[in-house]
Symmetry: C3
Subunit: 150 residues, 3 copies
């Protein structure tokens, strides 16, 4: 590709080992749009926060940490947005992938309102069940699109 | 976040009770792009149109209303787009989530062409199976991205 | 919709029979953004490359062609992008849907780095398990958003 067709992309990272292993950015800003990779519930050291209990086959047997995982996931998205001088207020769309739909649906309204800091977040939202996410103990992953003022 | 970083977002709603409970907008316009939340088959009163038959455990046992659910889902997207003076002709991308893939694939071409009003809708489209959507009787959910002229 | 609200959309195709049957474009460019439909592992004649082995019920029993399917999927995305004078370097976001998560996760880093031609692709990426894709023998599908310079 010639230099003329290159587009200016600004990536940000959490500094997790899997960023190198998998080869991706946690978020990429191009123009005034920020594309955020599926976020999950981990701390600064890369340790899962509120891992679900799984049986020997890797099947989840206890989803009671769903709210904690969801909260931490939003917090990780907030930290990425802050690197661009933005916040969750800039989010225009989110897609929520969950391995236990009932557990997620039971807490999502409350967790989301607290994360966005308002009873009616102004963002489009889609939620669906998935068979599996990156870690067997992971219950939720959320991707986002955010927009900065021109 | 300072006022300077705020982005102008225009939300629209169907007026469904779950918009308040979950805390989201049915669609958000920012700049000339419209992000539409996963739409589903419901009427103005919030009642599912063509609910699937489920057994005691919530498992779908009859997906014969797939086409009706899909039609109604596109109609609900059309109603949201109309609030922005737009139509399904403005859609550039859709993602179709279905709980019964075979049933969906059997009718999707016909339903989609009728909804878009053309044999070759000019939109990118992705379809995939999901383990679960918001309502156990729900067979399909579709999210959209649409663009208005500058 | 009046002509005034119409948006200029440029579609591209692989020339596959299912484009007509389903009624969609493989990718649509609007403004400087390219929305790419879920790509899969097929050749120019529409034949699956590296089909998984499935049993009589359609269940996958051998996912050993995952890497080949993933490589071919990226190659098909590259071919679409080339029609716009772009390359995988223009990708800002991808969503990877897989029917065998462990098999996909085991090869995704290596395959992705080779496809993007760099150890650290500058794109947001989300991967999740799905119950089913278009073909029973299909293990992976990837949708993309790419951006051209203004």
């Amino acid at each position: 590709m010639s230099a003329e067709r290159r587009v200016m992309k600004e990536p940000v990272y959490h500094g997790m080992p899997w960023e190198d292993a998998y080869g991706y950015a946690q978020a990429v800003k191009v123009g005034n749009t920020i594309y955020i990779s599926g976020q999950l519930s981990h701390d600064d050291s890369g340790k899962l926060v509120g891992p679900a209990t799984v049986d020997a086959s890797g099947k989840v047997v206890d989803s009671s940490t769903m709210a904690l995982q969801m909260q931490t996931t939003y917090e990780n998205a907030r930290r990425l947005l802050a690197k661009f001088g933005a916040s969750l207020d800039n989010v225009v769309e989110e897609v929520i992938y969950v391995t236990d739909f009932e557990a997620a649906f039971a807490v999502a309204g409350k967790v989301r309102k607290a994360a966005y800091g308002t009873d009616r977040p102004v963002c489009a939202s889609t939620i669906l069940g998935t068979t599996r996410l990156a870690f067997p103990q992971q219950l939720v992953e959320i991707s986002f699109t955010a927009v900065l003022p021109e």
